[in-house]
């Protein structure tokens, strides 16, 4: 049998799901919509942001919400010199693990910066809110360097 040429076809696969949040994630997202960042207290007292429903160490259901600051410190980061189409910024930017003031656990988000020379572990950053908030992680457009 003769081999054929490679036949290919570009296509887009869409999963248009609506997800139930539950009371813990729902509370965090509701607060984001109101431009506030909320964490939750773990069994050992650490404040986890964004809040988890269950303690990763003890599996205990968590419920004690704690408001945290919208400023924090970079714990680790990387520099995306060539953003991918799906990324939230189309110019070079940093992904960072950010420990917000009042939190004990770092969260992942993006940091807008002109150059990677401006970014450093330990640098202070502040949340920049979207013009319109919906109760989504992307209500924080990015963090900016202070």
């Amino acid at each position: 049998m003769l081999e054929s040429e490679v036949l290919s076809q570009a296509f887009e696969l869409g999963f248009t799901y609506t997800r139930s949040t539950g009371p813990i994630v729902g509370r965090f997202l509701t607060d984001l919509k109101n431009r506030k960042i909320t964490g939750i207290k773990a069994s050992d007292g650490r404040v986890i942001v964004p809040p988890m429903e269950f303690d990763p160490d003890t599996a205990e259901a968590l419920s004690e919400f704690v408001g945290v600051g919208s400023e924090g410190e970079i714990v680790s980061w990387c520099w995306v010199a060539r953003p991918r189409d799906a990324h939230p910024l189309d110019k070079p930017f940093a992904w960072a693990m950010i420990k917000l003031d009042g939190a004990d656990v770092a969260m992942v988000h993006c940091v807008k910066a002109e150059s990677q020379n401006d970014v450093a572990t330990g640098a202070r950053v502040r949340a920049v809110w979207a013009d319109e908030t919906f109760g989504m992680m992307t209500d924080i457009r990015w963090f900016e360097l202070l």
Partner: protein
């Protein structure tokens, strides 16, 4: 406990694009090769079949069901599938044999990652509320992990490059490898950064392909009369999905799995570690306490070619090959899944004697 033997293993060439070949066409040659090695006719001659794959990689819904077309499932066979690396299909197969439900099993894994943008596809395995909507890719997460290692002084960029140099050099002896070369640490460090602090060579390439294995009870292996190695232990452990709550510079789940598998009950001649990023090989060998007596990733590891959903099974196969060839008498194989080494499996493989 029932002793489990590996009697056959085959892996395809790691290629950046398998071209036209569909899942069935990737799997079939591997199956034919392991049937031949084990001296059996087809999947009807084993008691159980289990595969590992992920349909998201190629965006083909139920590709894993199409994969069954490679098996010859008439009359119907006992078959199962994990949406994970086939190393976990091996784990399921071992349980099946130990429960007394089967004496032999065929395991295969396949991945055709080239049709999609793999790091972005994999971003959708993250927390669907907090991380997936940001589209943070797996390379970036690994880069942040690498920086934690670098800035805490645990490793240097030269250490990372040394891992890559050894991988490329070892891969020269692996005809299935995608990336093989004699290259120095200095040359590697002169390359530009990709997702800083990672350079492109710190990241495994995207490869298409498949691998397959046949295991059975030690009695069955003797009956078949083929050379075999024994899986003396296997265990897997997972850590929290919350990256901020993990110590990303260590891999406690690997350490616990290794203890569970009995890795510490003898010398380790060879270790095949599934480290998709150079710094992760260092995390793993530290967690496993590997020293100079252990040859690490003689195949080149996945930095030389990474078949998503099959590379974990291939690590076990690579150790099996070295035991059969007499290069090693006892070794460990490691498989991983999830971002930044979240979920880890360790198997101990020994000579039959």
């Amino acid at each position: 406990m029932q002793k489990i033997a590996i009697v056959a293993y085959s892996q395809s060439q790691c290629v950046p694009q398998a071209g036209a070949s569909n899942e069935v066409e990737l799997i079939m040659p591997r199956l034919q090769e392991v049937y031949e090695q084990a001296g059996i006719r087809n999947a009807q001659d084993v008691d159980f079949v289990c595969s590992g794959s992920c349909d998201y990689l190629q965006g083909a819904a139920f590709a894993f069901v199409s994969g069954v077309d490679a098996l010859g499932a008439v009359p119907p066979i006992k078959e199962s599938h994990v949406e994970m690396d086939a190393a976990w299909a091996l784990y399921e197969s071992i349980l099946k044999i130990r429960m007394g439900q089967a004496e032999s099993a065929l395991i295969y894994g396949f991945g055709k990652s080239s049709p999609g943008e793999l790091p972005i596809v994999l971003s959708q395995q993250l927390d669907p509320y907090y991380l997936a909507p940001l589209w943070v890719d797996t390379v970036s997460l690994a880069a942040m992990q690498a920086r934690l290692m670098l800035e805490s002084g645990v490793i240097s960029e030269s250490d990372m490059a040394a891992v890559v140099a050894r991988s490329r050099s070892n891969a020269l002896n692996n005809p299935k490898a995608q990336l093989a070369a004699q290259v120095s640490v200095e040359e590697l460090l002169r390359e530009e950064e990709f997702v800083a602090p990672l350079r492109k060579h710190d990241c495994c390439p995207v490869s298409d392909g498949a691998s397959a294995m046949i295991i059975c009870t030690a009695e069955k292996a003797m009956e078949w009369g083929k050379p075999y190695a024994l899986i003396s232990g296997i265990d897997h452990r997972i850590e929290t999905h919350n990256l901020g709550m993990r110590d990303l510079t260590d891999s406690p789940s690997t350490r616990t799995a290794a203890l569970g598998a009995g890795a510490d009950s003898g010398p380790i001649d060879v270790a095949e570690l599934y480290a998709p990023f150079s710094h992760q090989e260092i995390i793993l060998s530290r967690a496993l306490g590997l020293g100079d007596e252990t040859q690490i990733n003689p195949s080149g590891g996945v930095l030389a070619g990474n078949l998503m959903m099959a590379s974990g099974l291939s690590r076990i196969g690579e150790v099996f090959n070295r035991i059969i060839s007499g290069d090693a008498t006892r070794g460990i194989a490691h498989a991983t899944s999830g971002p930044c080494l979240q979920h880890n499996l360790v198997a101990v493989i020994e000579g039959a004697a």
